[in-house]
Symmetry: C2
Subunit: 339 residues, 2 copies
């Protein structure tokens, strides 16, 4: 797969540009909510003491937002409100997803609901969603169009999460539904991140659409890689148990594709996945079956194909060349590792 | 108290105008989320069958939004996106508050989380918040300013809810903090409802500010009445047990004001309220103590004073006279009963 393990320079650049503005935005939250958000974002530890190293994400979304402003010929500063807003919405979804999935840990620390309670975690997420809209609507120009773009992406992301929850009670999921869910849950916000800077810059609809398509496809590529890592990822690298997604009966792309094979091995897989608690031998057997039924190959092809589609979307559009090159770099980085 | 029990005509008028647009908006939600929202809004029963009579609220907020457009000299239609958006945000907050407060019933029916689960209720609320922004940003004019106004109000409402949650673990709450919480939790969204139509109509800042002030003060008047009913309301009318708020140790305005009296009776009240489970005699004694310590009188004065302030805010502004009169009617109705 075309990919790079080198961290693109733009991640550091975006971090330095966006970080202070994001902290100012968080500072506007009420004193009851702010500490929870500061903890969630890794600004402070569970006692409210400044954290030595931020345990936040890699900052891919803010970098994409900055680059999308530059790709439209504007300065990086134009993309900053978009970068902050997208990051706030991303963290709104993490706060609520952790409650919904009963996840006790994120980035090797207790989740907000596990530490502060379910009610406070819900409220903190809500506050970030309202704040994100506010940040955009206060942008010097293009704020209304950008807010509309963010509200759309947020709606799609929420629909994707609802579909994911609905899958849990279904015995099987077809590949098409699985991709639709992933397009909502991961693609929509990356599509927004990759175009919101251009929207703020007042770029024409063609450039915005190309950048959005780049982000949506990149989101699907990332998700396919994530699904592969969820089964075959090295536990030392992912921080999650081997075959983790299979233990949790998650109907991710490799599993959906394997079940669709419809042969005797797929039937064995289906009956294995109907067992409530899988032992070590069963989980390893399930992973081998997903591989034998073609699930691993299909997900790998999907990641490769979506990355190519993302890069292809950039090729056809009139974009500032150096920003386009940096977007390509970020894309390679995203599929090469977790973010 | 100056009030009327007659249902103002504008509530029916707003219902007929806003209802179909609200249903169209809800129809845009994904198939996994829509049924929960339709149930919550009383469009359907728990089996998804159309409900004979809507069990939704009285529709005060949509009526205020419509009137605020008319007060600014625009047609009622101008206020409709604002009415829909405010109602969506109100219901977002109900969905999440029911989860946070573990409330099993609302309007004599099981709450969404009790029926469908916590995760789906969180997601349904999230979807309404994103949809509300979308509805406003698509308004033919004034959408960005209205969206900003709604995001502000939503932020204040969430802060108020956070403060309310924080009060639960405090032994006492001063009157000022209590009013600040109520201004956020109830006042902000009513202030938004009462001015958003004027914002959509492009009214000048002075008229918008007067209408917002009317709504904020009306919200505080309503809340004071609600706090009185929470202790002394007739269970047959409120559908809640007598002295309900005292049983739940809620630090509402009458309680906060009574505790602030600082005399021997206030001390007796404080020690009663520190008892985890109050028996019937204790709860009746606590209610008498709140009364004796002046809490009932202070909350009654508060309701009266806030209603007067709300009406006063209308008097000073250049507003269309018949809309102003209808706003006065709604105000009288709101403090005369639950909505």
């Amino acid at each position: 797969m075309t990919s790079t393990k080198t961290v693109p320079d733009v991640l550091r650049r975006a971090h330095d540009l966006v970080g202070p503005v994001a902290r100012d935005a968080v500072w506007r939250l009420s004193p009851e909510i702010r500490p929870l958000v500061e903890y969630h974002l890794g600004f402070v530890d569970s006692h409210g003491r400044p954290a030595e190293a931020s345990s936040g994400g890699k900052g891919v979304r803010p970098a994409l937002a900055i680059l999308s402003a530059e790709a439209a010929g504007a300065g990086a500063a134009t993309g900053v409100p978009g970068a902050v807003a997208v990051e706030l919405v991303h963290n709104f979804s993490l706060l609520h997803d952790d409650v919904i999935d009963c996840d006790q840990e994120r980035r090797h620390r207790p989740t907000v609901w596990a530490l502060f309670g379910i009610g406070p975690a819900i409220i903190a997420g809500d506050a970030l969603l309202a704040l994100a809209q506010k940040v955009l609507l206060e942008a010097p120009a293009g704020g209304a169009a950008a807010a509309c773009c963010l509200a759309d992406a947020t709606g799609s992301m929420i629909s994707g999460q609802a579909l994911d929850m609905a899958f849990e009670s279904r015995p099987s999921v077809d590949v098409e539904s699985c991709l639709a869910m992933e397009a909502g849950k991961t693609g929509a916000l990356l599509g927004c991140a990759s175009s919101i800077g251009a929207v703020l810059a007042g770029a024409d609809e063609e450039a915005v659409a190309a950048l959005r398509e780049f982000g949506v496809q990149l989101g699907l590529a990332f998700q396919a890689v994530d699904d592969l890592l969820g089964i075959w990822g090295d536990p030392r690298a992912t921080g999650k148990p081997a075959f983790g997604d299979l233990r949790q009966h998650k109907k991710t792309l490799p599993v959906a594709a394997a079940l669709a094979a419809g042969d005797a091995l797929a039937e064995e897989l289906a009956s294995l996945l109907s067992v409530e608690l899988l032992d070590e031998a069963q989980v390893a057997r399930a992973a081998r079956l997903v591989d034998h039924c073609g699930g691993r190959a299909i997900a790998t092809d999907e990641a490769r194909g979506r990355l190519a589609a993302a890069l292809g979307a950039l090729d056809g559009a009139a974009l500032e060349p150096s920003a386009r090159e940096e977007l390509r770099e970020v894309a390679g980085f995203v599929v090469a590792r977790e973010f």
